[in-house]
Amino acid sequence: MSTQPLLQVREITKLYAANKGCADVSFDLYPGEVLGIVGESGSGKSTLLSCLSARLAPDSGSIHYHNRAGESLDLYSLSESRQRQLQRTEWGIVHQHARDGLRMGVSGGANIGERLMATGERHYGNLRGTAEQWMSDVELDIDRIDDKPTTYSGGMQQRLQIARNLVTHPRLVFMDEPTGGLDVSVQARLLDLLRRLVTELNLAVVIVTHDLAVARLLAQRLIVMRRGEVVETGLTDQVLDDPQHAYTQLLVSSVLTP
């Protein structure tokens, strides 16, 4: 068991209005752990994710990240350039809409290579070789390496976004509804891919989803949010099989099972 948490979140609050945003959220995330944040639209999940990934300063509270070098960093006392450096090197951020996380004007291969270049790799052959490797890892046709993502389908774009994020071997990945808006068959393939990569690379992941099936498949632990507040936390199967809070019971009982 790892003793040192990767992320220590204490009483994070970011409110746009009463019950709009997130309030008083605390948790620890350990290496290799997948934490799901579930709740309906407007419950503050994405606001929380933005705070956690240094993209939105909270009104109050603190977030400490334990970096590769073994230092404990107070996220919001870091300079913006240090924050961006973390986002590019030690973290990955997978957006719900792949377009927000990709550069649509350059080729698929360049999208993957760009992150590597940001960490200092300059050799063209290495960049291309790594890009090819990652394309096949996320089950993209290598022949499409020189095509722009605008010519990719939604599922392919999402897989490219994942490759772009993982190429620098991040330790922590933030995902916002990574399977939202995809066809069910494409979703299953993407979920399987994510599950495999998370295990193989021992990634820590914070994943926001409103889909409880996705949460059950990927997350070991859940945080349930409603109107900006955490109403329940626990092991994923416990929260879903024996929900304690009225809202979680409503969420679980509202799911259609085919």
Partner: protein
């Protein structure tokens, strides 16, 4: 024999907040103990809470009150209120659980489904696959099916995959929820053998078996859950 599970004053009540807060009491004040190298069979009418008790022991359900302690890495650890990291470690190392139904993951092969608990403990893929293959063979799952996801298998086949997955790790504590429910005689007797082997290795086994023959073949103790009265434990005859 060393105590592996110690339950005191365990009460479970389901509260359905969206149905006017109706309360469904399952049982109350259960005291229960399971020891190393013994198989305890839970007994009681349908609805008496046998599966609920097993799920509580696995931390899949939360107790309403009472204490559940399990021997984990040499020490008795209280499940209620334990941090998630501890519970996950207990599931990885100490407690195995075979549910009635296999939760199928799309696109994952049968061999990988079975090997997964070993892989999570850091065993390399070749060894984990080899061990998975041995168990599948014993449980009469033909090799041509191993590379397929078990989603399309029959109920009995899925259950055998589930059993292989549960027995692939030598867990100190093994919880079995009707593992033989949809199996034929031949496969049910393989499960009986597996249970006896696990017990021989020192596991504490707690199970629900509707089949009287299987129950008689494996039970050292019968624990009778009576929701209206005090539950009690007695030696198997």
């Amino acid at each position: 024999m060393q105590t592996m599970i110690e339950v005191e004053g365990l009460t479970k009540v389901f509260t359905l907040h969206n149905q006017g807060g109706i309360q469904l009491p399952v049982f109350s004040g259960i005291d229960f103990r399971a020891r190393q190298r013994e198989c305890t069979v839970l007994f009681g009418e349908s609805g008496s809470g046998k599966s609920t008790l097993l799920r509580l022991l696995y931390a899949n359900y939360l107790p309403t009150s009472g204490s559940i302690r399990v021997r984990h890495r040499g020490e008795m650890v209280e499940l209620t209120g334990a941090p998630s990291q501890t519970l996950l470690d207990i599931r990885r190392e100490t407690i195995g659980y075979v549910s009635q139904f296999l939760r199928v993951i799309p696109r994952v092969s049968t061999l990988d489904v079975v090997a997964q608990p070993l892989r999570e403990r850091g065993v390399d893929q070749d060894r984990a696959h080899q061990r998975a293959g041995e168990l599948l063979e014993r449980l009469h799952i033909p090799e041509r099916l191993w590379s397929l996801p078990p989603g399309t298998f029959s109920g009995g086949e899925q259950q055998r995959v589930n059993i292989a997955r549960g027995f692939i790790v030598d867990y100190p504590i093994l919880l079995l929820d009707e593992p033989t429910a949809s199996l034929d005689q031949r496969n049910a007797s393989v499960v009986v053998e597996l249970i006896r082997e696990a017990r021989q290795r020192g596991s504490a086994i707690v199970g629900i078996f509707h089949d009287a023959d299987v129950r008689e073949a494996v039970a050292d103790h019968i624990f009778e859950i009576d929701p209206t009265q005090k539950s009690e434990s007695r030696a198997a005859s």
